[in-house]
Structures are given as structure tokens and as C-alpha cells.
Symmetry: C2
Subunit: 165 residues, 2 copies
């Protein structure tokens, strides 16, 4: 039997879209105003900095961040241009390469992390009790295709603000 389209679901959909866009906007604007680059850069620096040697294959980065391949490639371009990372040769697989975070990159990652945490607190934390936030997580997780997800658990660890999108 078919479910009839639920009004509740539609309402949830709308809010999910609207609220996410507002919150994201708020956070990104805060960071931008503080002179920081886009969030995607932070996510990338985060993945790099927490990987064993501060280096990852683009293909790994891509999987962690859930963004398309060409997008990763260009993101790396920008990080490299800004001296936040470098491309290094990959001996085991001459097709590939390693992207390694530089000290400058680590520094920026740290500074952004602080600003990011503040922004999240302002736009999310301050509006929900911990219990509500947890409930929200539970509900959202159910929409998350069950499936997937950052193989290396991306559950934000304490001070580690964590990757978005």
C-alpha cells in the first residue's frame, strides 16, 4: 500500500532547507567577517591535520568530505595557492599524490576552529538545550540514509569542532 504524502514530512522538509540555509549563512558570515576563508577550507584542513602524517590522498579527502572529485581537486589548488598545503609525490602510486598540510595551514586551522566554535555556539548551541540538540541529532540521523558516513567517525571530539557538510 502507498503512503499518502504526509504534510508533516513536507513541513519538516521545508524547515530543514530553510533553517539549514539560515544557520549556515549565519556561521559563514561570521567567519567571513572575521576574515576567514570558506568553511570548506576548514573541513579540508581538519581532515588533513587529523590524518596520520598531516597528509592525505585527494581521493581520501574527497570521501571524507563528501564532495565531488573535481571539487576536491580545485579546493586543493586553492589551499596550495595560499600556502596552507602542498602537493607531494606519491611513490606507491604514480597516478596519485599526497596533500600535506603546512604549518601555516595548521595555524589557520586552529584559529578558524576557535571562531567556528564560537559561531556554532551562537547560532546553534545558544538556541537549544543539550537534550534538545541530542534529540535533533537523533531525528536527523534517521534521515541520513542510514548508510554512509565518514568512515573514520567524524563525531566531533570535544574541542574539535568538526567538519561540516
Amino acid at each position: 500500500m502507498k503512503r499518502k504524502p504526509s504534510t508533516e514530512a513536507a513541513a519538516a522538509w521545508i524547515r530543514l532547507m530553510r533553517v539549514q540555509s539560515r544557520v549556515l549563512d549565519g556561521v559563514e558570515q561570521d567567519l567571513k567577517r572575521a576574515g576567514f576563508p570558506p568553511l570548506a577550507w576548514y573541513d579540508a584542513l581538519m581532515e588533513l591535520s587529523r590524518s596520520p602524517n598531516g597528509e592525505l590522498r585527494p581521493v581520501e579527502l574527497e570521501k571524507q568530505m563528501l564532495i565531488p572529485q573535481y571539487s576536491t581537486s580545485r579546493l586543493i589548488d586553492r589551499l596550495v595557492d595560499e600556502g596552507l598545503a602542498i602537493r607531494r609525490e606519491c611513490k606507491m602510486d604514480k597516478r596519485g599524490l599526497f596533500v600535506e598540510i603546512t604549518p601555516t595551514g595548521r595555524e589557520l586551522h586552529k584559529k578558524m576552529g576557535n571562531a567556528y566554535a564560537v559561531a556554532i555556539e551562537k547560532h546553534v548551541g545558544s538556541k537549544l538545550t543539550d537534550a534538545d540538540a541530542a534529540k535533533l541529532c537523533g531525528l536527523l540521523d534517521r534521515l541520513g540514509c542510514a548508510c554512509h558516513d565518514t568512515p573514520a567517525v567524524s563525531a566531533p571530539v570535544a574541542k574539535d569542532v568538526a567538519p561540516a557538510r
Copy 2:
């Protein structure tokens, strides 16, 4: 006193970003595969079609859709190019104009509406009970800056799938 950055909030933030992006992607891909234009077009057609004479000032459309002015202007360009709407003169205010939905526009709106409803049911409705969806709405609303929002209540009315973003 300062709140210390909550881990729950950070977790909620991540999920909000990740899940939204996945769900949106799912829905948009479904529509695209079915040969439909982007969701923004639907939202615009929706606003037009439910306004008194099927026409709106760009500035109104912009407020309803919560997108920047230049974005509205270009969205209208595309709708007009495709014959889904026309620009009409506005006698009361010669700076402005009216955008009016065409029959073709209404037709597309209707067809997209059906596909859209199916997609939402698939990506949201089928994963949540009505009660959970309602709970989710409640929690998300709390993040929604309280403030704002579609002046003309955008609460999706029954069959009316409603605007996103």
C-alpha cells in the same frame, strides 16, 4: 556567565549540514532525472501561482524566497526565457514591473509539484513517522532565529508541496 561550547550543539550542527545536503541532493537529483528544472524555479512558480493574479513584483518574490535581489532578477530572466513567465509593465511604479506566470508556467508547476511530493515522501516522509517529523519541525523552528519568515504563511497546505529554501 559564558556557556562552554557544547558538544551536542556541534553534533547537531554537523548533522544539520550533512543531512540537509544529502536530502536536498536526493530530491534535486530525482527531479533532474525526471527532466525538471531546479527547485528554485518551482519555488518561484509556486509563489507566482498562488499570488492574487499570478503576478508579483520581483521585490515581493525576493522577500518570499529569501534570496538576494540579483538572484531574483536572474531567476526571472530564466523563467521568461523558457516562457514560464512574462515581465509586464507596472503602471503604479515605473521603476518596477510585474512578473506574471504563464499557462505553460502553471502547467510545469503542477507537474513538478507531483514529482516533488513524491521525492519528499521518498527522502523524508518514508523515514520518519508523522510524530517524529513534527518533533523535528519543532526543534528546527527553534533554530530559525525565531524572527522572520515568509510573511504570507508558507506552511505547506495539504497538496501544496511548498517552497524550499
